[in-house]
Symmetry: C2
Subunit: 381 residues, 2 copies
């Protein structure tokens, strides 16, 4: 299927959702959702960008500096530009004024669909003040994006393979005395070199979060720091790699020097919980079944008090997306869904213990896209 | 001034804004604003975090996995936790339900301040549906954050110095045949090594955007790719470095092989426009004066049609923040403001031309925090 066909299909799908909800026009502002439907993604900080989907046409509202980029890549019938140079002072220079005009004119009387969790309160208020009824379209996009097509799966698999290569490079240079950020950097450089060799003219990137030592590893979510690895540290290294917009996640907990028996026991539990969760996965099981499979491993060991987070999250275009593998999520897994499996326990004074791998739901089970070794004996340095 | 005093001062300042606007409680969701006032910043994807500021107390609404982190770092009187493990199924497991309870109980009858441009439509609707009047507090935080204190300026200067070191490393390895991402990677590794040597136990990071060749450099805002540098390329290399949360930006346009006279002329114009803008800066001038100083250089050369963006943006905690150096911004510059100066022109078929440096407004002028050489002769390779 060509890119253009894929985008047409997604547009048709979102228009079915609009039809079902009585929405006349959708205003997308989330960069991932916009990319998913239009094929265009901007680096967006202070300049708002809106993708407008009506029943029979589409348009982008964009700052002047994205004009050429959007015209090249976006599936859109029209482009509305706002400017920020004195040269174009006589044209439209205000995003808000431009959107107001569009709402009054092109979208007159329309019921508007917004991504309620992702769009800003000010956009919501602007649309509301113009008299438009508003409905949520966010949940529809979440559901659409949760099941990946073959092209998306291809890139997620590449991201997974590349993340393995990055981890291999970081671990090859591991030594006590290096900082968390230096450990990350070895993986980064190998990743960027490899992707440059293998994939001409493509965009790619990464994010890392490495937490070393008993105190930092006990906190699941911290930025990598210049803290230096020391003997007997527990280290949780997390990496996401993205290529052509699609992501994989790869995380390993490792033990330096002479870990205590308790630390080895807890890491083994995290490994066992991850395996139990992985075994559960196939189309038809619920998100909560996967979470509970991991939970029971910790519970049987008397360690369930130390669980701080769900077993995993979907990923693809976003760092976190559906399906969320939570004990209370009745979502039924389908072929083509992608998520992390990363049960963990965090024991104050002892450390944090969590591996994360990225998994695709297949026709009759699942397959991993990350394979970096993670048995206990692989994790002792 | 200690961190704790600084946070107290900011809290007092925001409470003055609340008083003036008749706001009883502020709900902050932007990670930068929350960090600015509370000293705590989480890595936040799918789990909402809210910092609540009342006239006489403060609280955080956080997911379980941020509990220890928040209790260590956040200036908050209370912590409301929501859970996502079956172990805690009997406690609060829904962010929305938890916030609803807080709005009904602790914040009963309160006028609520929200960051309208940064908070989600669904949070806005939730607060509205609970019957609370809503006012915007975003503009007050923008104004507070626009003027940096000595501690913030210290970290911005360190970020600037580190960005120079990164650029030096990238340029030292520059050769035709390397990819944009490989060029970035040399700077990354040197940066992370240097920051590890110089600053123990600190967080730091970076972002790069490198656009090479006539076509890509003509588009101001693209992700770095695996496109390989070729003879006679125009390359725009952009880097932001952050340390201890604070950022500097450093960008250079360079010419490989044998550039045309036109390309050299355009780069010289961008350099001249940047210098003209820099010379304009001192307390009391308006943001638009700086923009127009750059504009006039391009205009006099007959090139103002090719300007696609303003002359610069503030920075600090965020990639882009006030003051925006736009032709229509009457904001008066004050000592302690920090922004980029980066006028550029983008000429289809010829390339894009833009340097960016980070500048602090001083008592009687300005000083740069980025010094990487940028004269035309420095930029020919």
């Amino acid at each position: 299927m060509t890119t253009s066909n894929r985008l047409d299909q997604r547009l048709a799908q979102i228009r079915q959702c609009m039809e079902a909800k009585g929405i006349d026009a959708v205003l997308l502002t989330d960069p991932n959702n916009s990319y998913y439907v239009s094929g265009f993604r901007a680096i967006s900080y202070s300049r708002p960008i809106v993708y407008i989907i009506q029943r029979d046409e589409t348009a982008y509202v964009i700052p002047d500096l994205e004009k050429e980029h959007a015209e090249q890549e976006a599936a859109a019938d029209d482009f509305f530009i706002y400017h920020e140079s004195a040269q174009y002072a006589e044209r439209e220079t205000s995003f808000t004024a431009l959107l107001n005009t569009i709402l009054e004119d092109r979208l007159k009387g329309c019921v508007i669909g917004l991504e309620m969790d992702l769009t800003s309160a000010s956009l919501y208020q602007l649309v509301k003040d113009m008299g438009h009824p508003i409905k949520d379209i966010g949940e529809d996009l979440i559901a659409m994006r949760a099941v990946k097509d073959d092209d998306e799966l291809y890139w997620i698999e590449q991201a997974g393979r590349l993340s393995d290569i990055a981890l291999e490079a970081s671990f090859a240079h591991l030594n006590s005395g290096m900082s968390e950020l230096e450990f990350d950097a070895y993986g980064d450089r190998k990743l960027l070199q490899t992707v440059s060799e293998e994939f001409p003219n493509i965009i790619a990137g990464f994010e890392n979060w490495t937490c070393s030592g008993v105190e930092r590893s006990s906190q699941p979510h911290l930025y990598s720091s210049t803290r230096v690895f020391m003997d007997n540290d527990v280290v949780v290294h997390s990496r996401q790699v993205w290529i052509n917009q699609y992501r994989a996640e790869n995380e390993r907990t490792f033990l330096l020097g002479e870990p205590t028996d308790q630390q080895k026991h807890y890491l083994q539990l995290a490994i066992d919980a991850q395996k139990a969760a992985m075994k559960t996965v196939r189309p038809g099981v619920k998100a909560k079944d996967v979470d509970m499979a991991a939970f029971r491993v910790f519970e049987q060991a008397g360690m369930s008090d130390y669980i701080q987070h769900r077993t995993g999250h979907g990923l693809g275009l976003s760092e976190h997306e559906e399906p969320y593998l939570r004990f209370d999520n009745d979502l039924v897994l389908q072929e083509g869904m992608v998520y992390t499996i990363e049960p963990g326990i965090y024991v104050p004074g002892t450390g944090g213990f969590r591996h994360s791998d990225t998994v695709i739901v297949t026709k009759d089970g699942s397959r991993r896209v990350t394979y970096f070794p993670g048995e206990l004996e692989d994790m002792l340095f």
